[in-house]
Amino acid sequence: MEPPRSSGVGIDNSGEYSPEIAETLRFEEEIQSLIHPSSFDGSAAPTGGGSFTALLGLPANQAVELLHDSGAREPLASRIRVGGHPVHRPFHLPLDCSSAFPSNATLVDRAARFSVFAAEGSPASSSGRLKAEPQDSDSPPLDPIPTGPAKRKDTGRSKCDVRLSLSFKSQAKATAKKSKNAEENTDGDKLPYVHVRARRGQATDNHSLAERARREKINVRMKLLQELVPGCSKITGTALVLDEIINHVQTLQRQVEFLSMRLAAVNPRIDFSSLDSYLSAECGPVTVRNGPGGVVVDPSLWPTDATAEATRRLLVPQFWHIDLVPPQLQPQQSLTTWERDGAAHSQLLPNPTTSLFLYDPANSGNANVPHLTAKLKTAEDRALNL
């Protein structure tokens, strides 16, 4: 869905971008012709493994200096400095260089050298710059160069050019269609999709782009899942992570099952009708205020994790309007009362889960358990008798 949509956008916009592409190509070609090849190599070597933008920043800086220094570049400088009709002037250029555009061997060579470092460049910074790039192509391209943002625009434009040449290099075909492809790549980066970048040696075909986008989406979602499931961030490998996720989901579902059984055991002693009336009384005026939002709770009434305290507050008056039983109750008495009204609960006794440990007097190895069960039993007794 999404890659074809981006490609459609790319194809739609390519008409308005191709003159600018050509213009940037021409511009970059001029800049590179200005840069001495030895100086280019000298600048490229120290920043060998560095980031892409740093690499491109240097030649651009050099281009700036060269433009400033030499008088032979006057026509170019004058063309640059004129900000009056920025859009019209470069349009003359592509008419000249359209023939030179595909078959510029020197351009491809230099772009090839760029591409070597482009592959090692950090994709994060480049994708960050990619967002800046379309804005740059939208804005008038002939801003005065010495300013800082202009330098960034330079790198953006040169990056566009490098990407184009990357596509040239990988496809070994120089047609406008490939420029549209690369431009579609950048257009896809404008939209809020997963950013896909064509790396060196990878085909920039429509299908492979879509596949790569899909794979990136899947990877993003897997990372999300890994964060959700505890203990999954250390595991590497998709199969193990999936295994862990499945395990976790099964555990959660089993926990829901056990808790529901436990609730079913607890429930007959709790009078929830008054609870319901209390809740509706509290939330009645709130729902009226909040309109058709269904059951909406006043946030001041329910702070986070206040359910425990709220239910305790509600359960207490129902249970303990009688006096608390003194804790020194005989366990045998508790057992008899348990068996007396425990006909319904007998199914729960042989339950092996630890969650029902509290309700299983047969397992009362703990000193606390008969204590608690005794209290519960006597309270229930009194409640039933009342």
Partner: protein
Amino acid sequence: MYRRSFKDTKSSLGSPNPNFSKPMVALRFLRALSLVRCSGPGARSPSYRARGIRRAAYACMAASAGPRRAWSRALLRKIRRRPGRGLRRPRAVIRRRRPVGGGDPLEVALRRLVPGGGCMEYCRLLEEAADYVKCLAMQVRLMQTIVDSASHVNSID
């Protein structure tokens, strides 16, 4: 009785961003619980009640997750299918878009676990699974606190 509880939870589906507010899920769940036990405490066996509570838990979880989620819709459909079995609506829901290739056993297992997972694409499945895990965890925490508060009522002394 069950129908009433589920209709109660389903009718309030209009909430926009619901499941991140745990109190709302709690409220719905408690309401459903009270309705489940309306039939009389001693009338049914606890296993029957347990099943009803489990269905109520899933129903309120799906209802509060919102109708925008595929798994919540599928879950509610699965829950409500039992009462209204006979009448199939003429407007057939288009199910089973692009059925699974089914090569990966892990993927197949995940599809079986997540409700509504048979029809989705892989990346959609992962997305739904993430949301499902989040809601399940919240539901489990909620039920745990309810059970704890119910069983430790005598801790006030």
